[in-house]
């Protein structure tokens, strides 16, 4: 996957400033490579992502959206995982209605040191989206 990446799928990551962003930064620090068409927008908490932003991303041409969730590490409270999960569920319903494969929206808890997990998610998600494009 080390090309200009133009043929690769484009993934938008909503990442949290305090938890998952440090993990993504550390992936860079450790030179853990992942496809370059992964773009990150930092947000305060994964439970703050509006479904309309996700829909907008697909409308504008993103192939996949990934929520790097705070999970149980969320500094804003224990309900974060449940709330982020609910946003995903609701948005996947909306995607279905629009004829977009719901699996193109993914979520996983990325803790502040989960660099390897993040890279693995980006690689497998890219592979999945490549397959979706070619089938």
């Amino acid at each position: 996957m080390s090309t200009t990446g133009k043929e690769l799928p484009k993934i938008l990551v909503f990442s949290t400033e305090k938890i998952s962003d440090p993990a993504i930064d550390m992936a860079g620090l450790l030179k853990l490579h992942y496809p370059p068409r992964v773009y990150t927008i930092p947000i305060p908490c994964s439970s703050a992502v509006k479904p309309r932003w996700i829909l907008k991303a697909f409308e504008q041409g993103f192939d996949g959206v990934f929520i790097a969730a705070d999970g149980t590490d969320c500094p804003y409270g224990e309900s974060c995982t449940e709330k982020t999960g609910e946003i995903i569920r609701r948005t996947q319903e909306m995607l279905k209605e629009k004829g977009i494969e719901p699996a193109k929206l993914r979520m996983a808890a990325i803790c502040s040191v989960c660099s390897e997990a993040f890279v693995k998610h980006m690689k497998t998600f890219t592979e999945y989206l490549v397959k979706q494009k070619t089938t």
Partner: protein
């Protein structure tokens, strides 16, 4: 919309420019509508570069700033300050991370990295165009602090804050001060007992005019926010008059017919329903255990100080900051865990109370103890359980206890069934001293720990000892001591009241253990001592002083400037469905009536800017500065472009 934006792209020596074609990035953004300056710089963080950016802002009257460099974790504050030095509101500055998330992450793909860097800088420009100037929210701060918990950490923090001139309310749930340390009759590395340490601290706070101590008291409600918390304190009665007669009270304890398990001695003894834990305990008045008192009236017959007419009180206090030092509970072994339930199997806290009660001979349940088997890491470093952490204090405490038994009693043999001794730092000398005294150390892996079996009148501890190449060894023990670690308080209701988040270990969470220790995500609430995680006394004192300094720094000026990144309601479109209030973890949203219509209102000083209210709003009437629909969607538009 911003129309005079300065864009500065950093080479970071070669950390960025070795993998990203910085010139190409600069060229790609220089003609974007609204970009006034587009420059690359070898080190954007260098003094000369900072000065140039600040000068450009003021001379060219820039209204937006983008710096594309390393992670914002490193230099967001640096360039925010540069923006302000140049006369630009710092919320009109956007940071683009093209090092950690571009040049380093894609050092295997220079063309891909350059393409991504261009997109990221373009997205930052799009975002800064939509940014608005914000001002900190100025509020008045009360120069008073509530310290919750009068253990050693709480009392130390209270004393420090009082010396700094703060009005301190020291609130203790129990009827006596001292917490867990008052249960210790010897302290490792000190020539004083836990009780003496408690007495010293109590005398300091008792005589201090700035400290008001409440015992039998707990915070049951918290309102307001940093600088101006409104707390409700429930004070349960002691049922003893202030003008108490000591001799009569002792008589009252004697005649009380009710006997219950004595939790001060970890249930190895009994106490009465009217009680005090030890002679020198403070305050120097017994209390009546309301839960177990039968109101038989026997105590009233012999003591004129008993007063059952005392009622529960609710006190309203206003404080600028809250410092929680609510301590820990010792781990309680599960049934059959390392023989728990066998008569001569006790925990380390129980064993220390037994030592305190035995003078010449070490006796438990009528039998003299000679062979002692200590089993380490019970309730800590669990393979299957939740407590993955090391409790830090227990290796040292156990070895020190073992040394004491040698000094106090004759013919003691100690066997330490451990998983690796962790007497870190200066405490290593304790390990050495125990070894010199002839203590035997047997070690196992975490997945193959020692076992405890009851064989007739014997209790046998077996281990596959890795220090002797995996030999199976066994010891018949007169007493098995389970070295139990620390756990978060079973009753953590105060955490729920204050809304302090807990970590995976269930202790209260600091924002960042290195960069922002003792601070919690609840602005104005700090944590100290073992409520944050296992600590020894020295570490608890250190964190108490840190938390005191932090709480003091919050309120000492009498006014506060709060971060203005908070949720905002569009009053025209809000139809009050209430979902935002349900989603808010801080109770920052309430319903108000305005122009005959029910709408949501955000309490600016309570909102933490988490954004949890944003996606649940049915009419999409809530936005948050810095994360508005316009800002986020403008970034999405740019990043999606091919």
């Amino acid at each position: 919309m911003k129309s005079k934006i300065g864009v500065y792209i950093c080479h970071c020596g070669g950390n960025i420019s070795d993998y990203v074609d910085v010139n190409k990035v600069r060229e790609a953004v220089k003609d974007i509508d609204g970009v006034e300056i587009s420059l690359d710089t070898m080190f954007a963080c260098a003094d000369s570069s900072q000065t140039q950016i600040a000068n450009d802002i003021s001379e060219k009257k820039l209204d937006g700033l983008v710096v594309a460099s390393c992670s914002p974790k490193l230099h967001y504050p640096t360039f925010s300050a540069v923006a302000e030095r140049g006369g630009l509101n710092k919320y009109n500055y956007v940071h683009a991370n093209i090092r950690e998330q571009v040049s380093w992450a894609h050092s295997d793909d220079k063309a891909g990295a350059t393409e991504k860097a261009i997109k990221i800088v373009k997205a930052a420009i799009a975002r800064v165009k939509e940014s608005v100037s914000l001002e900190p929210i100025e509020i008045k701060a009360e120069k008073s602090i509530a310290v919750l918990g009068a253990g050693v950490a709480g009392m130390r923090a209270a004393k420090e804050l009082a010396d700094l001139g703060m009005q301190v309310y020291l609130i203790e749930r129990e009827h006596f001060v001292g917490g867990r340390i008052s249960q210790l009759d010897y302290l490792c590395g000190a020539d004083e007992t836990g009780k003496e340490l408690v007495t010293q601290l109590y005398e300091k706070i008792h005589e201090h005019p700035n400290v008001t101590l409440f015992t039998g008291a707990e915070v049951i409600k918290k309102g307001g926010s940093i600088g101006n918390f409104k707390i409700k304190v429930k004070i349960t009665p002691r049922y003893i008059n202030d003008t108490c007669n000591k001799e009569e009270l002792l008589k009252a304890i004697e005649v009380c017919p009710v006997e219950v398990e004595d939790d001060f001695n970890f249930n190895i003894t009994k106490r009465k329903a009217i009680y005090r834990n030890y002679d020198s305990e403070y305050p120097q008045k017994p209390t009546i255990d309301n839960k177990n008192c039968t109101r038989c009236g026997e105590c009233e017959k012999v003591c004129s100080s008993i007063d059952f007419s005392q009622k529960e009180e609710i006190l309203d206090l206003t404080v600028g900051s809250i410092l929680a030092a609510t301590g820990f509970d010792p781990y309680q072994p599960k049934e059959n865990e390392f023989g728990w339930g066998i008569e001569n199997v006790v925990t380390l806290p129980q064993f220390r109370r037994i030592i305190n009660m035995c003078d010449d001979k070490l006796v438990y349940q009528g039998k003299e103890i000679k062979n002692i088997a200590y089993i380490y890491c019970v309730g800590s470093r669990q393979v299957d359980g939740d407590n993955k952490y090391c409790s830090r204090y227990c290796c040292t405490a156990t070895l020190y206890t073992s040394i004491l038994t040698h000094k106090k009693y004759k013919g003691i043999k100690s066997f330490h069934f451990n998983r690796g001794i962790r007497t870190y730092g200066k405490q290593e000398v304790i390990y050495d001293e125990a070894s010199q005294l002839g203590d035997i150390f047997l070690q196992s892996y975490e997945y193959d720990p020692a076992t405890v079996e009851e064989n007739g009148d014997k209790t046998t501890v077996k281990i596959k000892d890795i220090l002797t190449g995996g030999q199976e060894l066994e010891v018949d023990a007169d007493l098995v001591v389970l070295v139990t670690g620390m756990e978060p308080r079973n009753d953590c209701s105060i955490g729920d009241v204050l809304k302090i988040p807990k970590g995976r270990d269930r202790f209260y969470n600091e924002i960042h253990m290195k960069l922002r220790p003792v601070e919690t995500v609840i602005d104005g609430v700090t944590i100290a001592g073992a409520c944050q995680g296992p600590k020894n006394i020295m570490e608890s004192m250190n964190s108490a002083l840190s938390a005191a300094a932090k709480s003091y720094s919050i309120v000492n000026k009498g006014e506060l400037a709060l971060e203005p990144i908070i949720a905002k309601v569009d009053k025209d479109t809000c139809i009050w469905c209430g979902k935002c209030a349900e989603a808010c973890p801080y109770d920052a949203i309430s319903m108000i009536k305005e122009n005959g219509k029910d709408i949501a209102e955000i309490n600016e000083s309570v909102c933490k800017g988490c954004g949890m209210c944003l996606p649940v709003c049915e009419s999409d009437s809530i936005d948050m500065d810095g994360f508005t629909n316009k800002e986020i969607e403008s970034m999405i538009n740019v990043l999606a472009m091919s």
